[in-house]
Symmetry: C2
Subunit: 143 residues, 2 copies
């Protein structure tokens, strides 16, 4: 399940991508929170994390707010989800971005669970890393 954090984050960044398309300047958290009915203080935390990863850009003070950190066609849904919910993989031993041997696991090579979950991770990553914010707005379906 996608956490509320990731869902809120995606809602907000999709809105930012739409505004970006309209050549709008930065959007304040308060406006984003209101638009998508997200608790403002919670959204602060979320956007800050995305900014720290370079996915968003922020500007303090009057006329400040948040905007995309790079063009919409260079931000993938996978990148956003990973920042907010961690690795896509269902088991850490098949994660590309955060590999870790499973505690229980004796021999990774022969693990049946691993084989199946690797397929799931790979297909999920293909979709989420292959879909950018620009694609999402176009309603483009890649897979």
């Amino acid at each position: 399940m996608l956490s509320k954090k990731a869902k809120y984050g995606l809602q907000a960044i999709i809105f930012l991508a739409k505004e970006d398309r309209k050549k709008k300047g930065p959007i304040p958290i308060a406006e984003l929170a209101k638009h998508d009915k997200i608790p403002k203080k919670f959204l602060e935390i979320i956007l800050l994390e995305l900014r720290k990863q370079g996915i968003l850009h922020s500007k303090m003070g009057v006329n400040g707010g948040y905007s995309l950190g790079r063009p919409a066609d260079l931000i993938s849904i996978g990148q956003v989800v990973r920042v907010l919910d961690g690795p896509l993989a269902a088991v850490s031993c098949v994660s590309k971005t955060a590999y870790r041997k499973c505690d229980e696991c004796k021999n990774e090579k022969s693990c049946e669970i691993r084989k199946i979950m690797k397929q799931v991770r790979d297909s999920t990553a293909r979709i989420l890393d292959g879909t950018t914010l620009a694609d999402a707005l176009k309603g483009k379906v890649n897979f």
Copy 2:
């Protein structure tokens, strides 16, 4: 992330499928727990859930224990995961087995998040529902 519950459950049921192939009778929880180093009391809960869904069969008393509820080629990984971790879908609005409108969602049809997560759910379901315990033991890769 797969919960420990689902992981333990998969480990145990894969072991049961292996024993089933050898025409062994029912295996006691204690033996399964020891074999896969799973806390016994926790495994009890897990196996009971799988039994209540008809995936496993149990027998009380001496020479009792757990065995597969139906042939290994009729038990899919998806079925097991759903019982132990709930729906595969990352958002409830794309779940086939447990559909529910998202609280936040205004118009489902136009939701970009939904479109993407539907693709992910579908590809995940194709893999997990398309792989049975028999396939897993054969090392068969379907996708």
